[in-house]
């Protein structure tokens, strides 16, 4: 069972060919001294230690970005004439960081539809606000540079966890105002939660669910409903022209249409679950309906690591320094505290489970709880103290996160043809004193640290 169906993309080669052709023409033009080549859109980052996340580290390497894509990466790369050259000697160059689980850009009170436990039709992208500060002065994620200052270029945005099925999440880049260009995948998954958060308050006239049983039942009912909805659509499609004219088509249902994508395994279910028993329930239900699953947060995932590895279920872990789980503080929840293991990541990795890190952070709100993706490098560094190798730790916030989110053909590593989402750091990425000096998204410099590299 593959967690994410990977669609073959065939646009690499044409890009490469076109690129080669254009470079040839450019060289020809230059050699004829016809015009002065001043193509600023070619940027070459030179002399840095390049962590491609797709193989070996390249000392004194060069990354060439052109028209928003990576045109070349390597030690012996000829830099096209007229390229803007950025000297990164003594610095580190790596792909933009991916925060695999956030609530960025969504106002906290807009995260959950508390009156309805099941809303697969809700799309988080329609609540996503990428324009910086809101009219009330609440901070936004882009123009205030907080996320970019941590080198985060791609994030998964999700609805909140107070519903059984919250809705459809999306993978977006952290720069830009046009949904068409900054969205990498939408819907990227359907977000669900098994645990305490979706429970409704007990009492007279309480609405389901008030227990974990109720949560599971609602999940099953919804998936069964989707199966039946799908069947009706298929039955209708198979009818002959005459019959079609006589009967009315099945009524549209946006929620069910989204759920059918799960059944078709176009997108996975992302189920936030921390207690290992909730993880087991998530696996059980997804097995019953043969759908792909990603476990979110997964505080107790190490207890079922073999099952997760065997079924190829990835886990997006919360921040290890202080996991913010199930809508509350783990330190205030004695049962969850007992579930916690500092070696969760290391144990899962050793068993062969694919991992990413998610900040579960909010993009709005000033004072209060909000993990911020900009500290993901520090969180990764913290993990290296607990038997996670530096390479694995960095992969969790780059290429592995991209693979789990199903966007690895675009981002997550520095490889020819991928999006030019590149960050330059003034030191080793996992050191506390290291800062992100510059961030490129789609080949465009979108952030430069004050006092850092210009």
């Amino acid at each position: 069972m593959m967690p994410i169906p990977r669609k073959k993309t065939d646009h690499f080669r044409p890009v490469g060919v076109v690129l080669a052709a254009i470079i040839c023409v450019a060289v020809l033009v230059l050699s004829l001294q016809f015009i002065q080549a001043q193509d600023r859109s070619i940027i070459a980052i030179k002399g840095g230690t390049v962590l491609t996340m797709a193989g070996d580290t390249i000392e004194d390497g060069t990354v060439v970005m052109w028209e928003g894509k990576i045109a070349a990466v390597g030690k012996q790369v000829s830099i096209p004439d007229g390229a803007k050259i950025i000297d990164a000697s003594g610095k580190f160059v790596m792909p933009g960081i991916i925060d695999a689980m956030t609530y960025y850009g969504i106002r906290p009170f807009g995260l959950n539809d508390r009156d309805n436990p099941v809303t697969p039709e809700n799309k988080v992208i329609s609540a996503y606000y990428p324009f910086g500060k809101m009219m009330h002065g609440e901070k936004g994620i882009v123009k205030d540079n907080e996320i970019l200052s941590g080198g985060v270029t791609t994030v998964y945005i999700a609805p909140g966890d107070q519903q059984v099925i919250g809705g459809q999440g999306a993978v977006v880049k952290t720069y830009g105002v046009d949904y068409q260009t900054f969205t990498l995948r939408e819907p990227a998954a359907i977000d669900m939660c098994i645990g305490d958060p979706p429970k409704q308050p007990m009492g007279m006239g309480a609405k389901p669910p008030v227990t974990r049983m109720g949560i599971a039942t609602l999940l099953r009912k919804t998936l069964l409903g989707a199966q039946q909805f799908d069947q009706k659509i298929k039955d209708f499609a198979q009818k002959s022209g005459d019959e079609k004219g006589k009967t009315a088509p099945p009524p549209r249902n946006l929620g069910m249409e989204a759920m059918v994508k799960l059944l078709n395994r176009d997108i996975p279910a992302r189920i936030e679950s921390d207690f290992v028993d909730d993880i087991r329930t998530a696996i059980r239900i997804c097995d019953e309906f043969d759908i792909d699953l990603i476990i979110d947060s997964g505080l107790g995932a190490y207890k079922v690591k073999e099952v997760l590895a065997e079924k190829n279920i990835p886990v997006v872990l919360g921040t290890p320094t202080h996991p913010f789980v199930q809508g509350g503080e783990v330190s205030m929840t004695p049962d969850l505290y007992r579930e916690m293991d500092d070696y969760n990541a290391a144990k899962l990795l050793k068993a062969g489970v694919k991992l990413a890190l998610g900040s579960f952070g909010f993009g709005f709100g000033g004072f209060g709880y909000a993990t911020q993706g900009r500290w993901l490098l520090i969180e990764a560094a913290y993990l290296t103290g607990y038997d996670v190798s530096d390479e694995d730790a960095l992969k969790m916030i780059t290429i592995n996160a991209a693979q789990i989110l199903g966007v690895e053909n675009r981002v997550g590593s520095l490889e020819k043809g991928k999006d030019a989402d590149v960050i330059i750091l003034n030191g080793y990425p996992l050191d506390i004193k290291t800062w992100v000096d510059q961030v490129f998204i789609d080949g465009k410099s979108v952030y430069t640290r004050e006092g850092g590299l210009k």
Binding site: Y343, G366, Y386, I432
Partner: protein, 403 residues
């Protein structure tokens, strides 16, 4: 050949004399010497390849050249760094479900010790992260929450763990609620009157009926006398100015907790020598750049800064990470170390016992396997009162599966 044998003999002898870290046993001698580590004393310059002699739970000697008495067990700490046991000056460890007596908005008589849970794993987890002394107390749901307790996170005898059962007052203020300051001020005025009444009675050779006792006002008297601290949960700069004015009026010994906007009035705070316990800097909290770089501004202004976790808001194991974040935002490394060791010790009046590696102080020592502030660095050994409380090679099985 002879030379080789001699060398071998010397090596074997050394191996016996110097217990390497992976062969330590629980039963250490009463006197041990930690040898070879970089010792960061939190008071003076760091000692490369220093020696710390621990005797009867206290630090007997520290320096580059310390005579180790014959037969003393030597623990080889070369390649390690040793820092004093860290101090978290504001947290709610052990109190998380009983931290706020909301029904008593002015309850200075409440004592945290009565509501603490010593059986939760948090204490051990704090200790193994190198946080040995904590001030834990009531929450900030009330204007006057009650009295904190200064306690070690580990120890076999609970009574001995307590350094100070504070009589300090923990307050919380947010002047956006207009009633906060008048309520607090009225209570302090009443306490002043109460104090005068008792002083008059005592000076008058206790003639006539004694004044009625009042637990709440009684708790505030040592604060007014300046014997006990007044710690106030405070975020906004205008509230800080108000409290500085109250300090001028009542003369109490003030410390700011959280102090988000303290950097805006750093000079005023420095002038009155009020210690500041600043916000948790760990990754959990959404603090903007102004607040994060504010800590450097406070340091530059000469304010005595201590860092805190507010556990369980941020896990106490992140105290070291808080110092790391201070360093990231420009605070010198040795100053950042002082912010989690000697500064809170001085501010809490326990510097005679803890807060630095100095002769005569409690042997609360943290041995780390690398640069003390890097997130990847782990605590290898923790000594509390000279007793080996945590030993990573043995106590932390890591990836080894439990059979």
């Amino acid at each position: 050949m002879r030379c080789a044998i001699q060398t071998l003999v010397v090596l074997i002898f050394c191996a016996f004399l110097m217990a390497p870290l992976n062969s330590l046993t629980d039963e250490l001698q009463n006197t041990v010497a930690l040898k070879g580590a970089t010792v960061l004393t939190a008071e003076g310059p760091s000692i490369p390849s220093g020696i710390i002699l621990v005797k009867d739970g206290k630090i007997a000697a520290v320096g580059a050249n310390v005579d180790i008495p014959q037969g003393v067990q030597i623990i080889d700490c070369s390649g390690k760094e040793i820092i004093p046991g860290m101090i978290d000056e504001h947290s709610h460890i052990g109190a998380y479900s009983d931290a706020n007596e909301f029904s008593m908005p002015l309850g200075p008589e409440n004592r945290a010790i009565d509501g603490l849970n010593f059986e939760v794993p948090h204490w051990y987890d704090a200790m193994k992260a190198g946080v040995i002394t904590v001030i834990t107390g009531p929450g900030s749901g009330e204007r006057m929450g009650g009295q904190s307790v200064t306690i070690k996170t580990w120890g076999k005898d609970l009574k001995k763990r307590i350094l100070k059962e504070n009589r300090e007052a923990k307050m919380a203020v947010n002047a956006r609620d207009l009633s906060h300051i008048p309520n607090i001020r009225m209570k302090l005025i009443k306490a002043q009157e109460y104090r005068e009444k008792w002083e008059k009675y005592e000076q008058g050779d206790k003639k006539g009926p004694a004044p009625d006792r009042d637990l709440a006002l009684e708790a505030l008297v040592p604060v007014l006398k300046g014997e006990e601290k007044l710690r106030v949960h405070i975020h906004f700069a205008n509230d800080m100015m108000t409290f500085l004015k109250l300090k001028d009026e009542f003369g109490f010994d003030l410390t700011f907790i959280h102090s988000s906007e303290a950097y805006k009035v750093a000079d005023e705070i420095a002038k009155r020598k009020v210690p500041v316990i600043t916000l948790p800097l760990a990754t959990r909290i959404a603090i903007d750049e102004h607040l994060l770089s504010g800590i450097k501004k406070l340091y530059d202004a000469g304010v005595k800064v201590a860092l805190h976790t507010d556990h369980p808001v941020v896990h106490q194991k992140c105290l070291r990470l808080n110092a790391a974040m201070a360093i990231r935002y420009g605070v010198p490394e040795d100053a950042a170390l002082q912010m989690v060791t000697i500064n809170p010790a001085v501010s809490s009046k326990i510097a005679d016992r803890v807060g630095s590696i100095a002769v005569g102080k409690d042997a609360d020592l943290v041995v780390l396997n690398g640069t003390w502030y890097e997130p990847r660095t782990r605590v290898d050994l923790v000594f509390v009162d000279g007793i080996l409380a945590y030993y990573r090679m043995k106590d932390d099985r890591g990836l080894a599966e439990v059979e």
